[in-house]
Symmetry: C2
Subunit: 134 residues, 2 copies
DNA sequence: CTTGACCTTCCCATGATGGGAACCAATATG
DNA sequence: CATATTGGTTCCCATCATGGGAAGGTCAAG
């Protein structure tokens, strides 16, 4: 019934914390919602929908600036899917690059750890590698 | 010849920026080096060696707190390799977890992007997914 | 003596998020 | 009705590792 909800309700409905909702407003990612006489923010269904969009984009690792762009495209009925896809592909490349970097570190450490006895003696190929001896 | 070098030379020799060398000192990761009369920091071979250790640990993604621990073990002749290995294994688990999270995002986006025409029409499964419709 | 290259300390910024203080408004209970 | 609790508000600070830059001291070379 009540189309307007408080920031807490909006947070629970979308999975975006009240803290972050205010933050998104302060950086202009979302527009300031209506306020009641007591200065409380009140969110309508469109606002909630938008916050859900933002949360899902964050869950996919998009940056705030990317989301700003995606929101503009979302609202633009005459957008081209090519523009959306370009943002996604660039982000995919970044994700793959970061994942590869982490995996390279992990691989290196796994090799070193595999050769480490892990006993009470000091000899350790991990330390040696950091020491530039290994 | 000259065993003592300036912070710039130490930075160039180790790949750790002068800015970060001062920072590591300020947080107690390295001990304050000797100073000349003019208050300039001067680093010896041991210091350079230690900074190299830190840089290699950073390159493997270890946090500053992990490095603090690793440095202590490095200096401890009576360390147990088990303790070093434990730190490494925990870090490997973190790296793998983060890499997996990034890959999951990438996979999801790749599926969506594969179904996106990328043309000048607005229809777009990527936007639809963020919109909760897809 | 000036110029330029280096050093020093100190403050501010990043990106996304949370913690918490100080204060005001609304509701629920004794 | 008075008070306790809850939940709003703004504002400041912290994270993590790193860099930018200002203001000022020091030194070598021209």
């Amino acid at each position: 019934m009540n189309e307007f909800v408080t920031i807490r309700d909006a947070a629970m409905a979308t999975g975006v914390s009240a803290k972050m909702i205010r933050h998104y407003e302060s950086i202009g990612l979302i527009s300031p919602p209506t306020r009641t006489q007591n200065r409380y923010r009140h969110y309508n269904q469109r606002d909630i929908h938008e916050l859900g969009f933002i949360r899902r984009a964050r869950d996919l690792g998009f940056s705030i600036e990317d989301i700003r762009h995606l929101l503009a495209l979302w609202r633009d009925r005459s957008r081209s899917s090519a523009e959306v896809k370009a943002i996604a592909l660039r982000h995919i490349a970044e994700l793959d690059e970061k994942a590869a970097a982490l995996q390279a570190m992990s691989e290196t450490l796994k090799h070193l750890a595999a050769n480490c006895q892990g006993d009470n003696r000091p000899d350790c190929p991990i330390i040696d590698a950091l020491d530039r001896l290994g």
